[in-house]
Symmetry: C2
């Protein structure tokens, strides 16, 4: 198909490039809307005022939609052409629903993220939703497979919940490649609480393209 | 502790009750902010206008925060006292980051949800983020355990990715209880694409309190 390009895993339709400058502006907008999400979940404002704010949010949406992309912005990294989502739901600085988890690529081949989750991500009272933790670990395990040069499609993800993961306290997530067997890359990761104890342990298997 | 009450699993600090009427207003506000999230991810508006909208979103947040709850609204269902999140990140109608997946409890003891996911939930290009699917399945598996009268803390969650889950097409997620062994409830679930083929299969084990 005209205009498509080859990626190690996916065929990607070209997306409008986004400048560094534009990323900075979009990132500030996403940060403000991220705060708005949290304020909606915790507001005690009277009902009439809620209706006014809903109308104002609707107007902002209408204005943002006057010029619209077909798909979220991405950038590609270096020669490998690994696509990086700028608006992914876990670490996307351009996505208001992402915490966002800023992911560091360490020299030893592992990846790591420090973050705190607020009430928007609540599952059991006062705790992080188990599925939100699963989503974060899925992201980190996929990123460590990319970082290791063995990107693939997720074939399986297994999570073991050891102890509660709490809202509003600093958490750490980390992931590493365990082993590579032929086209299969096995990754392992976990979330640690403020005491450094694992709350969730995860493993995933990625199948690399032929 | 004064004012706490007993829940089958958690000790819950009392939360301000929320009226049906207020839920309707909050739900409309969350719906408008949900649309705003999507419009942020796909906007091509010029940078100066993005800054104006960011400032307006900031003002809405400030106003919502003038009256603030300590924790998101919940309701409890019937005599069992099972807490229902109204602002959970998967099916919470009061949470702008939730799709939201409306979950039906069927007479045969299973649960089911029909939903479509937009660009806010993108992972690989054009596809649903694998972690978002994991989050949705985690929620449904937990709800079917509750529905079955065997609520518990998630001990493990295992996902097998069979084929891509696509954005912008109607999906179905379903879950059932497989078996209960002593204090352990085993649940199974899956996501089906528009052709009715499973894209992801999941199992989970819940440990019920003593």
């Amino acid at each position: 198909m005209s205009g498509t390009r080859t990626h190690p895993i996916f065929t990607i339709q070209p997306r409008e490039p986004v400048s560094e400058r534009r990323i900075a502006h979009l990132s500030r907008l996403a940060a403000r809307v991220r705060e708005l999400n949290e304020s909606v979940v915790l507001t005690e404002l009277p009902e009439e005022e809620l209706d006014e704010i809903a109308a104002q949010a609707e107007a902002l949406t209408a204005r943002l939609r006057t010029a619209r992309r077909a798909a979220p912005p991405v950038v590609t990294n270096g020669a490998g052409g690994i696509m990086q989502q700028l608006a992914g739901p876990v670490n996307g600085v351009l996505n208001p629903i992402a915490p966002p988890c800023e992911v560091q690529f360490l020299p030893d081949g592992t990846v790591r993220s420090e973050f705190t989750l607020n009430s928007v991500y609540e599952g059991p009272p006062g705790m992080v939703h188990g599925g939100v933790s699963a989503m974060i670990l899925d992201q980190l395990l996929g990123m460590v497979a990319d970082h290791n040069g063995t990107p693939g499609l997720t074939a399986s993800l297994e999570l073991r919940y050891r102890r509660p993961t709490m809202l509003d306290e600093p958490l750490v997530a980390e992931a590493r490649i365990d082993r590579v067997e032929g086209r299969r890359a096995h990754a392992a990761g976990r979330i640690l609480n403020t005491e450094g104890k694992p709350t969730i342990e995860a493993t995933a298997m990625f199948i690399m393209p032929m």
